[in-house]
Symmetry: C2
Subunit: 414 residues, 2 copies
């Protein structure tokens, strides 16, 4: 074993792509044959290092390099992908972790100052059963067993039955929580999946945490009326009230600092060209890193919707679809991540993560956590055109390795 070799990481990612992808992209959907192929390939890749390897009760794979201290540095990723996915989402994290294990193993002759563990989380994407972060939420204890027990895939196969096929007992998946014993820090590298670093022309960023999310359906109810015979000032136009919400959420998001708000869907009833809209339903997705700011964004949207409804002589009703609390990362680790990036490239940037990641689950379990982002081209993921410049991939492996080293020192000092 020699020093860190980021070019090898890029080569291995291409090898994995050739092995488990096709003309439509990556096909490593969790618990499928292709995923098992990828997992077996991964085991081959770490051969030669003195690692203890096992899968936990939830199907997460752990690669442990025992150190002088039982306190653990965790490095995480997920080799599973969405169907027709990209070559980097999840597997970059895993393969960078493998390369760092190699460097640490070589540098410390198989005995680093703290224990170092790489985890390949099971079913981060939730592509088959619609429940993302499966393995990490089982491990963190946040998984809702009642909800997960009844999940079915499109062939009507239940999650517990699919797990049994790969040797996992659904009822025991939370036993995986034991793996977090002695966890002193968790690091995760990921492609940004957004355009922020691309816009700033920066390769790398330190992630502040994952956004909390409030997701609601908002239905305005007015009155259908003939488009020809109903004067404008007599209308109860549900679309007008809903339409006012669109520029309003931009104002709300801007006021919030770094929050985002999205109206992703709009449906109208009766929805015909000759009638004023009686019912208009929009979906609203709001995200913020700060719980109070998220609550403010939600309140402002509710207040605005009631104002627009009142002014338009219609009514409004809200229905919560989903919510999750913000998961801020560890301040000291964010600082170390920033340092590692600056030492590698000269300039860093701090940004929140819109998408959720396994890191959010680990942070929620109380383990000091940070993520590093590398620039995404096109700001696109979950698609075969997902890409990152190779020079940036190499930079991120280098910076992430520096962060791992700094974190080992940090763990030992605590």
């Amino acid at each position: 074993m020699s020093a860190l070799n980021p070019k090898r990481t890029v080569a291995e990612l291409k090898e994995l792509r050739a092995l488990t992808g096709d003309e439509n992209g990556a096909q490593r959907v969790a618990f499928t044959k292709t995923w098992l192929t990828a997992c077996a390939w991964l085991r081959e890749k770490v051969k030669g290092m003195p690692l203890e390897i096992h899968s936990d009760a939830a199907g997460n794979m752990w690669f442990t390099l025992a150190g002088a201290s039982p306190k653990c540095l965790l490095i995480g990723g997920h080799i599973d992908s969405v169907p027709n996915g990209g070559w980097l989402d999840g597997s970059l994290n895993v393969m960078a972790g493998v390369e760092i294990l190699r460097r640490i193993n070589a540098q410390y002759n198989g005995k680093p100052p703290v224990t170092v563990r790489l985890v390949n989380w099971a079913d981060e994407e939730g592509a088959r059963f619609g429940k993302s972060l499966f393995g990490s939420s089982a491990c963190s204890g946040n998984l809702n067993l009642e909800e997960a027990r009844v999940l079915k895939d499109k062939d009507d196969i239940k999650l517990p039955d699919a797990l049994r096929e790969v040797g996992i007992d659904f009822e025991k998946v939370k036993d995986s929580g034991v793996e977090l014993k002695n966890a002193a820090a968790y690091l995760e590298l990921h492609i940004e999946q957004g355009p922020v670093l691309l816009d700033l022309d920066l390769p790398l960023g330190a992630v502040l945490g994952t956004f909390g999310v409030e997701r609601h359906a908002i239905t305005f109810h007015g009155q259908a009326a003939h488009s020809g015979s109903t004067p404008m000032n007599r209308r109860k136009d549900a679309f007008l009230a809903a339409a006012h919400m669109s520029p309003e959420i931009y104002r709300i998001a801007t006021r919030s600092g770094n929050g985002v708000c999205t109206i992703g869907s709009c449906t109208t009833k009766p929805g015909i060209v000759t009638s004023v809209v009686e019912d208009c339903c929009i979906t609203l997705d709001q995200r913020h890193l700060n719980p109070a700011a998220l609550a403010t964004m939600l309140n402002e949207a509710k207040t605005a919707s009631e104002k627009f409804a009142r002014e338009g002589n219609v009514t409004v009703a809200w229905e919560r679809l989903w919510q999750i609390a913000p998961r801020p990362f560890n301040d000291e680790l964010i600082g170390l991540c920033d340092e590692a990036i600056r030492e590698t490239y000269g300039k860093s940037h701090r940004l929140p993560s819109g998408p959720l990641h396994d890191a959010a689950e680990v942070a929620a379990a109380g383990v000091p956590t940070v993520m590093m982002f590398v620039q995404s081209l096109h700001g696109i993921s979950h698609n075969k055109i997902e890409d990152t410049r190779e020079e940036h991939l190499e930079l991120c492996v280098t910076a992430f390795d520096k962060l791992a080293e700094k974190t080992m020192t940090w763990i030992n000092k605590k």
Copy 2:
């Protein structure tokens, strides 16, 4: 025969409702058995008057009371209804016409100063084949035979075949145009089907004409992007641009004077809660009585859509769905209509018609035309709850009869 008896008109409308309606409303869909039943009932109702009665080449029924002059006063209505329709839409016009024929026949001993003709237009509603104003547009010459020839009902029966069933040769329907020879004026009474007179607390109004209509589909094209990872200032949000159109069309309509604009439908793609909207399609229906004002409304909407698209970094495309020119009514007849209303009730109001009526076809054929509206309760029609107060029904028969008398005098003076 005695003097005008408006109460008889109300009683006859109730009789027709009992004969041709059910618990869901009126069922006199054109060219059906129930419609033929209604037409036969109508023939019974005019028995005893010296009328020449025939159906023309398009299925319109003409009841002619020959006068001293061959110049004709036409009074029109339609006994057909939509499925589950109201008891007044169309049949009020016909039965008021019958009552006026009785009064004129009695007053002039079977020989009025001008010829008076009642026409029961065939398939005003277009409920079965989706082509409204069938009989009147055949008669006016505006019917597009190529388009009409291929129309099918929901059972895949073609319009020409359905017409053959009731003895009409589709290829000859425009021969009905001969009926307009000697037509000197056309009068039509109708329920308002809107809330204007109700709001003004007035029973009757003189109609200025039927609106011209511009009907378009407007598609904004932006870019789908992750709702969590895409900063607000980076978005190409098709829904935002479309939403700006909604308050804008209210401003455009208000500036136009008495025009109306309606966005009746909005669809979004991909239309999921976690993505910025890539494609948003709205329908726009614009109506005005003045051709220049209608053109201005359309231009203003186009300009606004391009501005919103530019500001939102999206594109916009327009597709015309349908259009029809405004059909203004005859100024002198509008004046006579106003007079007749004021003599009956004391107060009148002039208003445009949003919905189209057979009168629009007759006006387009060059016959001086006017309509009288009577107040609608709820502003609703095409529904079994369509209704008008009985005192208002009686008032409208009286006022419409005065208008018929004034128009005979007007015809004779010309």
